[in-house]
Symmetry: C2
Subunit: 712 residues, 2 copies
């Protein structure tokens, strides 16, 4: 456990809480927070602070910090913004460890300076700030509800971190209705100091927390967030809702909290890299958190659908494809397992169709068979209300099977569709935390989320792959460009950089004789391109100084002579250095590979389909750096054009290892060379397996500051 984690424990498990601006007026936030702390059953010391003194809710009020003995773990600042700095200062001076600055009126309304001043003072005096502009926080570990919410939070296993106050407050009621117990609920507001990563470093080891839900509008220190998430997700699932995913939504988020939403494509890909599940809507996020909190990870990917309606079985099958849930399809085995439970006119193919005549006994039989079979790992049970089914047994059948599957460590999800009786069953069983849903897609989305998490646990690796690159040589190139007061590299500097990084550009040399030209062409392989090299010839083609697509020795000899003759004729005084002979880049699949420092996430790599399609198809993906080869391969699989690399229409498989290598090399450059802010190889032309790839063009931008931004 790091120092940070030890420290943050005091926030979630305070021994003492002070309310600065505690109020006698029950309409005020300063009253409400105190009321929730007192009524919520907090066992530690509570210090309401108000110069007026007296007593509120039976607790004696301190007139100032001097009346409090010893330091306080958590203070809640509830005073108006104009008094906030003084309140924060006094708390810090008294040695308070954490300050929940509930007060609003800071950066979210443009008052950035005051927020900085307040935070700086706190930081300098060893006090950490949550907020400002928050509704407070709740922690089940200490039974402390230091929020101005409606109270009555039920302790449980889902931790919630929210950047939106209104949503967070409304979640208190919503979770109560849905019987979702909360281990912690933290409003992060403007994130002037404490952010999601800090909070996660506690939640990762909090025994109360079984799943984590985050509502995020903007990420500031994404690099740190990625580091922490990488530690959290192997231990417990994290679900994130990130609003501002659309262009217009990002604008709205900016005007709402002043936070920069950043590129949604980058956020999305990096969350996937971290094994975080992304939910679009709050409903989806709640469903996932609840389900993941209650369900153990399955042993394998063989899912079986059991249904009494063919139509709904087909819908579920569609949904399984959408949410990447794999259906068990060993038909022989399926027949063996399910033939007893299935009438002749039903189906033992997956979906298992018990037909509209099925009773609870038929479900029992089919589900038991699925539960007992070692090759079946999870089950979707669908029920369309029928007159034949013994409805009185519906709830018991669902409840008991769910319990038995839980004990067997196999996920079982029910989807129930029908009238009042079905609705009631869904409603009441949901409140018992039995995984039962009304809509088939909703059901399968939950299982899909679980399998996505399962795959992350299975495939993740802590390996970091780096390439050997000549950092010193690259730094030299950068220094050269800086000396020239440029923020970018010129073509030959880009070439030197690529050489130093071990990325293959088209081979080339400057030949001074025909023999040299021929020797190089023979070595590099035909076809080659010849170009005059002379500082006096700007327009090479006009001077007859270029010859393309030379396919053999004779053509090189002829072209060499023709170029020399033509250039001497047309630019008689030209000083000719020689003739550049370059490997001609054959056609192949054009890709784009890049690396840059993202405003939210720091160093990242990018990969996609190159050429004109980058812009139009936006078929690109991202990863945070550092990464390993397996992650680079995952990136490649994510783009729609991936089949082009596997070979389609009789074409051969492309040199995927070489592309992976290029991604790792660029990742290494952006990680080790802080002077570089952006490097893009476009196109990277990749050939058949074993034949490598060529970086045809490279564009390099330098960081504006001398040493670049640090992401240590």
């Amino acid at each position: 456990m790091s120092h940070d984690q030890t420290e943050i424990k005091n926030l979630f498990e305070p021994r003492s809480v002070a309310v600065i601006g505690a109020s006698h007026n029950s309409a005020k936030i300063g009253y409400k927070v105190l009321e929730n702390i007192v009524r919520g059953g907090f066992g530690g010391k509570v210090y309401p602070i108000n110069p007026k003194g007296g007593e509120i809710l039976g607790v004696s009020v301190k007139k100032g910090w001097d009346e409090i003995e010893g330091s306080v773990d958590v203070a809640c600042t509830c005073v108006p913004s104009k008094f906030a700095f003084e309140a924060v200062k006094a708390a810090a001076d008294h040695g308070t460890k954490f300050n929940l600055v509930i007060t609003s009126g800071f950066s979210e309304v443009g008052n950035i300076e005051e927020e900085k001043r307040l935070t700086a003072y706190a930081t300098d005096h060893g006090m950490r700030i949550l907020g400002p502009n928050i509704f407070g926080m709740y922690s089940a570990a200490a039974s402390v509800d230091a929020t101005f919410g409606p109270g009555g939070i039920k302790a449980g296993s889902v931790a919630i971190i929210t950047q939106s106050g209104a949503l967070g407050l409304a979640m208190i009621g919503k979770t109560a209705v849905e019987n979702i117990g909360i281990s912690a609920l933290v409003s992060v507001g403007n994130k002037a100091d404490i952010d999601e990563a800090d909070l996660l470093s506690y939640l990762v080891d909090d025994p109360n927390t079984r799943s984590i839900l985050m509502y995020i509008e903007g990420v500031r220190d994404g690099h740190h967030l990625v580091e922490v998430l990488t530690e959290v997700t192997p231990k417990k699932p994290v679900v994130v809702i990130k609003s501002g995913r659309s262009a217009r939504g990002a604008m709205a988020a900016a005007s709402h909290t002043g936070s920069l939403a950043g590129s949604d494509a980058v956020f999305d890909a990096i969350m996937r890299q971290c094994g975080v599940l992304r939910a679009e809507s709050i409903e989806e996020a709640f469903n996932l958190c609840k389900f993941l909190s209650d369900t153990s990870v399955p042993r394998g990917e063989n899912t079986v659908i059991v249904t009494n309606g063919g139509g709904i079985g087909v819908l579920a099958t569609d949904a399984c494809e959408k949410y990447n849930v794999k259906l068990f399809d060993d038909h022989e085995q399926l027949h063996e397992v399910f033939s007893k439970a299935t009438p002749d006119f039903g189906s033992t193919k997956n979906p298992i169709d018990l037909t509209g005549g099925a009773t609870s006994a038929d479900y029992w039989e089919a589900l038991k068979a699925a539960r007992d079979h070692e090759r079946i790992d999870s089950v979707l049970a669908l029920y369309c209300e029928t007159a034949v089914f013994d409805a009185d047994n519906l709830k018991a059948m669902i409840r008991e099977n769910s319990e038995q599957f839980k004990q067997a460590g196999k996920p079982l999800l029910f989807s129930v569709f029908g009238g009042a009786m079905s609705e009631e069953a869904v409603g009441s069983l949901t409140k018992e935390r039995v995984p039962v849903f009304g809509d088939v897609y909703e059901t399968v989305a939950c299982l899909g989320g679980l399998y996505s998490y399962y795959r992350h646990l299975k495939d993740r690796s802590e390996t970091v792959d780096e390439a050997e690159i000549d950092v010193a040589a690259i730094e030299e190139v950068i220094q050269g460009a800086r000396a020239d007061r440029r923020g970018f590299l010129l073509a030959h500097e880009g070439q030197r950089l690529m050489d130093a990084a071990g990325i293959a550009l088209p081979a080339s040399t400057v030949a001074r004789t025909i023999d040299e030209a021929v020797a190089f062409a023979e070595k590099a392989g035909y076809p080659v391109v010849l170009k005059i090299v002379s500082r006096d010839i700007l327009h090479k083609s006009d001077a007859g100084g270029v010859a393309l697509d030379l396919e053999n020795r004779d053509e090189v000899v002829d072209a060499y002579q023709a170029i020399m003759r033509s250039c001497r004729e047309r630019v008689p005084d030209a000083r000719i250095t020689g003739i550049e002979v370059s490997e001609m880049v054959r056609a192949g699949v054009e890709l784009i590979v890049g690396a840059r420092r993202d405003a939210s996430f720091g160093p990242i790599v990018m990969f996609g389909l190159g050429g004109i399609y980058v812009e139009v198809m936006k078929d690109v993906t991202f990863r945070a750096v550092p990464l390993n080869r397996a992650e680079a391969i995952e990136m490649m699989k994510e783009i729609r054009a991936y089949p082009l690399l596997l070979g389609v229409r009789g074409e051969e498989r492309k040199d995927i290892p070489c592309v992976v290598d290029t991604i790792i090399r660029l990742a290494t450059i952006i990680r080790k060379c802080e002077g570089i802010s952006d490097i893009e190889v476009n196109p990277l032309v990749v050939y058949e397996q074993g034949q490598g790839a060529r970086a045809v063009d490279v564009r390099v931008m330098l960081s504006s500051a001398e040493g670049g931004r640090s992401h240590a």
Copy 2:
């Protein structure tokens, strides 16, 4: 009203109903159907038929058809499948107009012959069959519930047509719970005779029906369905759930009903063409139907979001982009309208943020301002539960504003998120048919559906565009290939077909002299390609018979002579017809355009990005034929690569009218030339505006039957 429609009226508004196989045993379907008819309040004559006679549910039972005077409008066949043919025969012989064959055990279990026999007999005797393998049907127009469902269907404005029995039966309960009134509920089962199109031809003019929901697994006569839908959607919205959209789902559908799911991409695009809204889940479909049934189409696309939470406002903004709901963004105007209702630290930019301090009075004020403003066309009102809000007024505020907006002809949708009070408000208001939802995405999806329908109404056109093509010449080409016993066209036949259709291939001629070659090249434009034409020279390149990329007169002259010399030297006895001179196809954007006879929908056209990307990116779309230019342009806008045609990265706009023209020409061919089953131009290379396009390669397949399939 067509003959079909007059006739189908008897199905929905029967004056008499017979139940064949009416049973005294209340556990039997033959009892249940009779019970629903009797208890459902049907006002016409009811004839239970059972050889045993007697009385069931107070209705006297007929021992046979001879006891029934006059013909019957609707008979329900409830006997076991082995007696079904005889039952159907007897009904038909008695002049019965419609027979709902509830009995199962036909094509859905492979018993295709019996289904055909039964249907053929009925058809020959003027009786139409619904089913077999159905649960019956309900029609509010005649208060007739001829199903074996649970009864108690509530009359209302949503018509449902379902191919799944279990789902349809469960919908009876589900609609009751959700207070969705039904105008008709029809189970189509195996669709041996009556299909969706037949039923729609009644529903289009049924005054009870305000929206139509269809659950479809497979389409048989899609061409007819498209014709009917094209008439229906301008009058009332149609929502369709099509299962089997995934590959695996399609397999499941095939094994379930024996119906072929067909290509989902084709179905999806053609439904869009018809103005049908496609829902993925049943929940989404119900939401849409209910909402569209209750809401009038807005006057324009300016939507405003009013919220008391910034975070939920951002989520709604994201959802608006996803569901293509356009946010009003005249900030000056917005400020004018909403500044009074919005506190200073709120926002009058869209979303209008009333802030967490908002009360019902603030909502009233903001909503009234939106309602009164002529440029605001629809409103999304979001509410996060807060302690400040006067919760007692929540329901009245929502209900009354909804009513007033309804009267103003402006859609207003609420999204309410919070605890028990909010849940209760959503639940009870939903039952009152007030458009209020719990989830933001669900809310916006409904408004998005309405706007999708709005745009269809606004943009649709009944125009059919056809090209002038030389059908006789094309038929001649087809006859030639048939005489040769081929099912496809050879290259030169394809060229003749394209000439006859007026689609530009690269210009070419066979020159017999140098002068002819030069004259053609001068006319067609350089560069050109020369190729030897000789039946004795198979490998033209080997014989030196090919010259590419000839850029001027001199090069053509040299190449002509060189080819002749080389061919005469290398194949001395060759009979040389001449040299083919062809325009060389310049690089441009490669597209694919095709037309074919689809198994479900008959003649359709296809358009997409060409080259290797067709397979990998699957960036193609479809339309049913006939179509008009506007629809062809819509097709082009649908593909992801569309920006390539508009010009990206400084490139010029491409010749879109020429591509539209090619689509229309292929549509005309497939419509008029029944001998052709499939025609594909790949690639169609399109150039800058005004510079046309070239069909580089064309592949034509012929229909297997002599005259092709008829889709008159």
